[in-house]
Structure formats: C-alpha cells, structure tokens
Amino acid sequence: MIRLVGILVGLGFAFVSLLAFVVGAYNQATEPAAETAEYAFHEPAHNPRGGFSFDGLAPRWDVAQLQRGYQVYKEVCAACHSLNQVSFRNLADLGYTEEEVKAEAASWLVPGIDPNTGEASTRPGLPTDRFPDPYANEVMAAAANNNAIPPDLSLMAKARHHGSAYLYSLLTGYQEPSAELAERFPDSVPGPGLYHNPYFANLNLAMAPPLTTTGQVTYADGTEATVRQMSQDVAAFLTWTAEPSLVDRVSMGWIVMGFLLFVTILAWLAKKNVWASVKPRRED
C-alpha cells in the first residue's frame, strides 16, 4: 500500500516537473531569452600587475602601501564614503606610533556635544572614535549624490566577489561605452549622472571617476601617484579595513595545520598499531 502511494506521488512530482521542463523548452525554442548587456559586456575583476602582498598563502601587509591607501581614502574617498567599522586607534596597525595616531585622529572632526550648552557640535577626534560619516544622515547623502547613497567602505573588499581585485579594477576601469554597446544595447548607455564601467555589476554607476589624474594625491613617501598606483593603494587599504585579521589569521593557520598534521600522523600510527593484531594478512 505504502509503495503504491509512493509510486503515485513520485510519478506525480516527476510528471509536473517534466511538464515544466517541456513548457520551458518550448518557450526557449520559440522565444530564446535575449542576451543582456551585463552578460555581454561585464568584465571579471583582475589584480594589478604583481598582485597584492596579502594574497596567497604567505600574506603580509605592505605597511607603506596601506599608509598611502589611507591617504587616498582620507583625501578622496572620505568626501562621500564613510568607514564606520574602523576606529582611529586601528591605524596603529598601519605602522603609526601612538602619538601619530592621536595626531591623525585629531585632524578629523567628529560629532560631539558642546560641553557648555549641550548643543550638537564637532570636536577633534580621539583614537577611540570611529571615522566620522561625511553626511549627517542618509537623506543628506542621497541629496548630495543624485539620490545614490555612497555605501560605507569598511567591508567593501569582502562585500564583492574578489573584492580587492574588484576595487582596483573598478577604480581603473572607467571608460567610454563602446560603439558596439551603444548599437546593441542602447538602454545600457549611461544616462545623465551615470558613468560606464565594465567592472560594475550593471555597467553604469552613479559615482563619477574618483581618481582621474596623476598627482591627485601627493604621497608623503614620494611614490608617484598615478591612477593605477592610487587605485592599488586604496584597494589594499580597504582590504585591511575589511579584514584586519587577515595576516594574523593565515599565520595562525599554518601553526594550527602543522600541529594537526603532527597529531594526525600520530593518530594514524596509533590506529595501525591497535589494528595490527586483528588485520588479516594480505597474501600478496
């Protein structure tokens, strides 16, 4: 009885899904799904030449690069993008001394309360403060940016596939839409206030190219600030903000793996030893 019911239920589900298959195949044959601009023109993110120091199985932070990237964030990105998971005290990871961190924090204005009147005001930052938002609220952020709210950048390197490469590719990837795109997908040509970028998911983003000219930032360490250099540096900095534990994590991982390998070999020998007396002898 149970098997009869089972067979009927099984045939029922199989029939309906095969029916859906036939309908799908018919639709596909009569009106194949149109190719999309995203599918045809989206480019996969790529690393800068030479890659990043923190990729691979022996990662390290290039402290000078992180400092340069921080400078790019501070002088360019911070005009619109917040970094609200990061505190000034975290800058110590970038090789700054305690005094330098204090001075750096104090160079930012953070929201505060006037101690005399209790009214909202601003004060110089302390190491324990988070990076301040460039806008007081989302309404202001949207109003200032053609209704597109600039996202927080703290986790951007983990919030996209291949985040570090994505950031680098996006920042260096702005270009005029090709004639082919304009011809095949006229709707995908950027409208007013939008910019074409093949690394962006839907090809058009509201952010104007932020890094455009060599020397836009004057690096303290004298490195030439080309667009590629600045993009690479800020991508590295944002990878650090997204995953500050990255290098510690991998080096800890090697210690753990070494220990586990040792223990596993011991366990294997113990197992062989315990089973030696009961294993039948092979005749070969």
Binding site: G6, V9, L11, F15, A20, K158, W254, L261, V274
Partner: protein
C-alpha cells in the same frame, strides 16, 4: 542490550567503584563508546561520519555559545555586533569563522553520513528507528542553520529569510496568516530576528537530545556494516575501544585538517559576499541564494514553474518538503532483504549513475541563477530524484537478483569462517 560477549565494566580503582555504585556514569560511557560496545570488525572509513557529526555538533555549540556572549539580536545593531566580534573581541574572528565554516563542515559530514546510510541501506529493519530519528535531526539542522544565517542581518540574511518564510505564504487559505505569525510581522524585522536567535540557541540542544535517542536506538541492534550481514558471533566484532576510537581519532585528524584549511585560509569561500552588506529591505540582491548546503532543495523548489491544478509555487514548496520527507518512508519503500549496495547489482547501477549524478547536479543548479538552461536541467533532475526514491527503488527491490552474500562478517574479512556451513552462503541474512 548488546551481544552476550560484550565486555563488562569492572572498575578496580576504589573511587571508580564508589562512583559506579552511586551513579554509574562511567559504566554508561563504557557501554556506549568504550570497550563495552562490540562493533562489526569490518567497518570502513564511511562509518567515521557519525562520530564526526557528533564532534561538529559540540563544536557548533561551544563556538555558538561564545559568539552569543558578544552578539546582539536587535535589527539595529546585529550587523555591527558581528563586526564587533570580528574586530574587537579577542579571537572573535576565529570564533565566528569556526562557527560559520563549522556549519558547512557539519553539513558535509551529515551528507556523507546519509550517503553511507543510503548505499548500505542502513534504514532497513532492524534499524528503521535510527534512520527516522536521523531524518528528524537533519530537519532540525536545516531549521537551525537557516535561522543562524539570518542572525548577521546582512543582505542574504534578510532576503533569505524573506524568501524562505514566503514559502509558507504559498500554502492555500492559511498561508498568509501563517507567514505573518512566523515572522511576527509582514516582513523580516526585529521580531523575526529575535525569535530566530532564541530558536537558533534552543534547537542545537534539541538536536543533542535527538542525537542521544539516535545513539540509544543504534545500540539496540548494534552498528550496521559494509556487508549488511548481521553479527553472528564474537569473531565478527571488535570492542569499540580501542579499535574504533583509534580509527575515529585518525578520521577526526583528517577532518580537522580540511576544516581548519577553510577556517584559516579561505573562511569566506563558502559564504556569499552580499552578506557583508547590511540588510536593506529596499534593495533586492540580484541573485538570492541560500547557503550551499540547501542548494539541492532550492533547485527542487525552483524547478516547478508551471501551474498544473495547483499553482507552480505551491508545487515547488510541496516538492521541496517532500524531497526530504520521502526519506522517512525509505524503510518501507525498499523491500529488498539485502542491505549492502555491494551485493545489489541493479540498485548499485541506479545509485552511482542515477542518484549521485542527480544530487551533484542539483547541488550545482541550486546555486546557479534562475535562468535557462539551469531551470530546465533542474526540472529533469528533480523528476529523476522523485522517480528514484518513489518508483525505481521499490521496483528494483522486487525484481533484483542479489549477488551471494558472505556467510558472516568474519568470512568477509578473513575469507573463511569455521562456523560457516556449506550452502548457507546463498541465502541472504535477514
């Protein structure tokens, strides 16, 4: 329970003797996973996954309880509290990655454990109850994992919760009210997040209770084995300790090596980047996908795209639940007296060339975008999935001629068993 030749617990230390009189907990452990539990001597490494699943459960409870000390189940701060764990809590990142990848590891182990059960027909009498409790554990795990994924309150958390609870909305008449009741509102929000956290904390302990029942039920007939021939004499078994503790110890080492490679070297490989974007009810992600371990069932859900008597969405929901519920009926669908797939030529063919490719395909298709040809492929494999369990399995079990079984486990291992009687080999042991 247990076989008459099982070793007895005989404490010599006065303290252990005293304890055995007052509260025989050491005796209980000795009989459960010690020398007092005789186990078939021929278990392969496929029999490691029960112990590994138990290990994963403990791992998840320990890391989860620590995470709960720092996490805040409030939709305004949940996302930031997870980042607080990652950045400011000492070893917080290790705890969180261990927990997130621990869930994946738990499912890998459970899927291999179920796979073992399916190939060796571990669900057959006298072990039906073990199997039934096992399916309950799997359902509880799915619920727990789903609710756990909502807690970081990222984009996939939010939209996953919305899609999955939306499934209940497909139920006729009561669906909509049921969905509102489950969520505590019309969309996932603070009320939903709070109850999911509460249940996510509770359910692992319910699972632990079911695991105790699972093992209790296991100890009545004893473990199955790769031949599917029941234990006949003492020479068929070895005490669990030290033989299988040693074997499981090695298995645990291999498991930990793979697991730790994920935790330390690619902790986000199995997650989705969108979950590092805070939940935003106004912005729908391009592809809403669950965690990888739900992919086969998600593929089945999405395979039903045509209204036929019932609306397509309801078919999908019914099929998704049915795809797991069908496991409950396996002991009665598969009537073959032979357990092990090694001695079932027809069953073996459909298993390796039917079920396994189907599961692999559904795993892939569940994570693929809802576009052609993925949907059409899901439809074909979904059809096979149901046909396999509900039609093919009952039919093969009636028409198949099994290959001759060994007389006993001893004979299978040592090539001879003194107790074997000529001619008895051909009859399948039941």
């Amino acid at each position: 329970m247990s076989f008459p030749w099982a070793k007895q617990y005989e404490p010599t230390n006065p303290l252990m003797k005293y304890l055995d009189e007052k509260l025989p907990l050491p005796r209980f452990v000795y009989n459960a996973v010690g020398a007092g539990y005789p186990v078939p001597r021929n278990l392969s490494y496929m029999w490691n996954f029960g112990v590994l699943a138990g290990f994963c459960l403990v791992l998840q409870i320990v890391t989860g309880v620590v995470l709960a000390m720092h996490y805040a189940a409030n939709s305004a701060v949940a996302f930031d509290s997870v980042e607080h764990i990652m950045r400011n809590v000492n070893w917080g990142w290790a705890m969180r990655y261990a927990h997130a990848n621990g869930a994946s590891a738990f499912f890998v182990v459970i899927y291999l454990h179920i796979f073992r059960g399916l190939f060796y027909s571990s669900y057959k009498a006298p072990r039906e109850m073990i199997w039934l409790i096992g399916v309950v554990i799997f359902l509880l795990m799915m619920a727990t994992a789903f609710m756990g994924y909502v807690l970081p309150w990222g984009q996939m958390s939010f939209w996953g919760a919305k899609v999955i609870t939306g499934l209940f909305g497909a139920i006729p008449l009561i669906g909509e009210s049921l969905q509102v009741w489950l969520l505590g509102g019309y969309a996932p929000d603070n009320a939903a997040l709070n109850r999911f956290f509460s249940l996510h904390f509770l359910l692992p302990f319910v699972i632990a209770g079911c695991v105790i029942l699972h093992i209790w039920a296991l100890h009545i007939p004893g473990s199955s084995n790769p031949t599917g021939v029941e234990v006949k004499s003492e020479s068929d078994t070895l005490p669990f300790h030290p033989y299988y503790t040693a074997k499981d110890g090695f298995g645990l080492g291999v498991f930990l090596l793979i697991y730790c490679a994920f935790v330390f070297f690619m902790p986000n490989a199995l997650g989705h980047p969108d979950n590092y974007i805070p939940a935003n009810p106004l912005s729908t992600p391009a592809h809403i996908v669950p965690e990888w371990y739900f992919y086969p069932f998600y593929a089945i859900l999405r395979a039903f795209t045509v209204d036929f008597i019932l609306p397509a969405q309801l078919w999908g929901v019914l099929a998704m639940f049915a795809s797991i519920l069908v496991w409950f009926f396996l002991p009665w669908l598969d009537k073959s007296p032979v357990r092990s797939g090694h001695y079932r030529p027809l069953f073996r063919k459909f298993f390796w060339f039917g079920l396994i490719p189907t599961m692999a395909a559904l795993f892939y298709l569940g994570g693929a975008p809802a576009a052609e040809p993925y949907v059409m492929l899901s439809q074909l494999f979904t059809a096979y999935y149901f046909l396999h369990f509900l039609v093919i399995l009952p039919i093969i079990s009636s028409i198949e001629r099994p290959e001759p079984l060994p007389f006993s486990i001893t004979e299978a291992v040592l090539k001879s068993d003194k107790k074997a009687v000529q001619g008895e080999n051909a009859s399948p042991a039941v």
